[in-house]
């Protein structure tokens, strides 16, 4: 069993031809439905549906309030290493990039944890590049043990692992897993992941499923918007979410919407997703997967993120550093994985959430072990 079987079903599917057939009444019919099927979802992702952005947004708002209330869950990302053996053309940690490489010692992890915990946020997302020699599972286990002293919930966004390694990290307290496929289009995937473990498409594609099998409470997926044709990529992301929901009833599925920041590095993404299309995708995800958490990171601007609060987003990172460490001691590597656009402090993000009539949630989990 694998989501790859679903992808295979759509090999040869002519997306542009399908979008051509979409009519206004199709979109209206879908907006009147309570439960959307796959093709309904695809209709909402079409260019034709853009005309219905306001009714989509209203329904997305209503569904989100019903399932999540007026709340935004907060988390903080912590990068513990930028060593990486992968050659991904779009990433700052690319092995070919001559950047200062750094890995936090356990003492440094502790110091970062103390600094982050002062914000009151109890949800930490641990990130690292992929370098099995430098950051082996044993190191990650030690890091998690250290972080669990300070946080109620620790999630990981690290290289894909075997199920047994996911279990090892779960055993010391990790409860959530984030793995972005980056791009579902196999040809493009190959062209941007030139070497390293990450060039194995299927191993990555099946990682969220292995996490669900390992018993993770939350599995978060996404595609990096801009790498592939946006509408079909959004479709496969949503389909991947529904596949996980249908097959792993015990797992909360959530989605992220990472988008290339035009100000970023030398890599020029082949596609662009403008704000309007971004919002259309966000609303389509919400209507297709009403219970899924949706995160938008600090890649997006403060103003844009504030406006998304009432549209279907449920989780925000805040006060983020995307270099290594950076909360307790300034990050001297000066090589972030991606550029942050929303540079506000946690207090400022919290104030903005409150201003929009939403409650910032600092803690919503306990490890009972």
């Amino acid at each position: 069993m694998s989501f790859n079987n679903v992808i295979k079903e759509f090999e040869g599917f002519d997306f542009p031809a399908f979008f051509e057939t979409v009519t206004d009444s199709d979109v209206e019919r879908v907006l009147g439905k309570e439960k959307l099927n796959n093709m309904d979802f695809l209709i909402l992702l079409s260019e034709k549906a853009a005309k219905f952005l306001e009714p989509m947004a209203r329904k997305s708002h209503q569904v989100t309030v019903q399932y999540f209330g007026r709340t935004i869950h907060l988390f903080v990302p912590l990068y513990i290493s930028n060593f990486c053996s992968n050659e991904c053309t779009y990433c700052g940690f690319n092995i070919k990039n001559s950047i200062k490489r750094r890995k936090l010692s356990l003492e440094e992890v502790e110091a970062e944890a103390v600094a982050i915990a002062k914000t009151g946020i109890q949800h930490l997302l641990l990130l690292t590049g992929e370098a099995h020699q430098v950051t082996p599972v044993s190191y990650l286990v030690d890091v998690v043990k250290c972080l669990k002293k300070h946080f109620a919930s620790v999630s990981i966004e690290i290289f894909p692992m075997d199920e047994c390694d996911y279990r090892s990290l779960k055993a010391v307290g990790v409860d959530g897993l984030t793995v972005f496929q980056e791009v579902y289009d196999k040809k493009i995937y190959k062209s941007v992941h030139l070497s390293g473990q990450k060039s194995d498409y299927l191993y990555r594609l099946n990682a969220p499923e292995r996490g669900a099998k390992a018993g993770y409470r939350n599995v978060n997926i996404g595609c990096l918007m801009g790498l592939g044709e946006p509408r079909s990529e959004a479709f496969f992301t949503g389909m991947h979410g529904r596949y996980l929901e249908d097959n792993y009833l015990h797992t909360e599925v959530s989605l992220s919407l990472p988008r290339f920041n035009p100000a970023e590095g030398d890599f020029v993404p082949p596609f662009t997703v403008n704000d309007k299309t971004f919002v259309q995708f966000l609303c389509a995800f919400r209507l297709f997967l009403p219970r899924a958490g949706i995160s938008v990171s600090t890649r997006e601007s403060a103003l844009f993120r504030d406006n998304l609060i009432s549209l279907g987003v449920t989780r925000y990172s805040a006060g983020s550093c995307t270099g290594v460490g950076g909360y307790a001691v300034e990050d001297h590597s000066q090589t972030p994985q991606f550029e942050i656009t929303d540079e506000r402090s946690v207090e400022d993000v919290v104030a903005a959430i409150v201003r929009h009539g939403y409650q910032p949630v600092y803690k919503d989990w306990d490890q009972i072990a």
């Binding site: 209330g69 709340t71 009151g120 929901e245 009833l249 909360e252 009539g357 409650q359 949630v361 306990d366």
Partner: protein
Amino acid sequence: MQDEKLTLGKISFESRLLTGTGKFSANELIPKMLAASGSQMITVALRRIDSSSPVENILSYIPENVTLLPNTSGARTADEAVRVARIAREAGCGDFIKIEVITDVKYLMPDNIETLKATEILAKEGFVVLPYVMPDLPLAKRLEDVGAAAVMPLGSPIGTNRGLETKAMIARLIENCKLPIIVDAGIGRPSQAAEAMEMGADAVLVNTAIATATDPVVMGEAFALAVRAGRMAYLAKIAAESHLSRASSPLTGFLN
């Protein structure tokens, strides 16, 4: 009209409306909602409590005269629910516990088997146990046997506002159980709360419908009124329904 109080454990409650702390746009609304609704018991997920937080502790918004009903939201097994309950008691949240064991995050359906196990263990430890379950009569009778303080059947899945989809099953619990029946989850509007109370439910628990209303304080009051109206109608014995209309001035009256 005389009504007995709702007794759970050793405490008797005037109000038959239980409320929740989730989904509010600001925690400051919670005490206002409690005052407006007269609700005397409120549930809070232990996982949301952070007593050592430098910024926010949800418990500080719950007045002392309102009984705290910690719940085991997030628990996947009986064992986890039991541990959450013990932590809640140690944290000073009292002896009440609402058991929520959910293994299906898609529909948030309770796992009746694990819930029964947890109820038995916790009742023996002196907890006042309120299990959240699918309405199932044999299960409810077993919950009675193992010492539950009430049975909390769902009206429809949590947060769906779909009302009493399980009405016929709940009616059987009301008819056949000795324990108080508190309809929990799925009640989306005051009329649905009134409907549950008219049927003879002993109380209802409402969270989403109040917390996500544009004005949660007024909605809290609306629910309180509906619960009272439904309860009074139940006590007053609602007239039986009939398929044939009965005109107030019968057409054949002249024959008498």
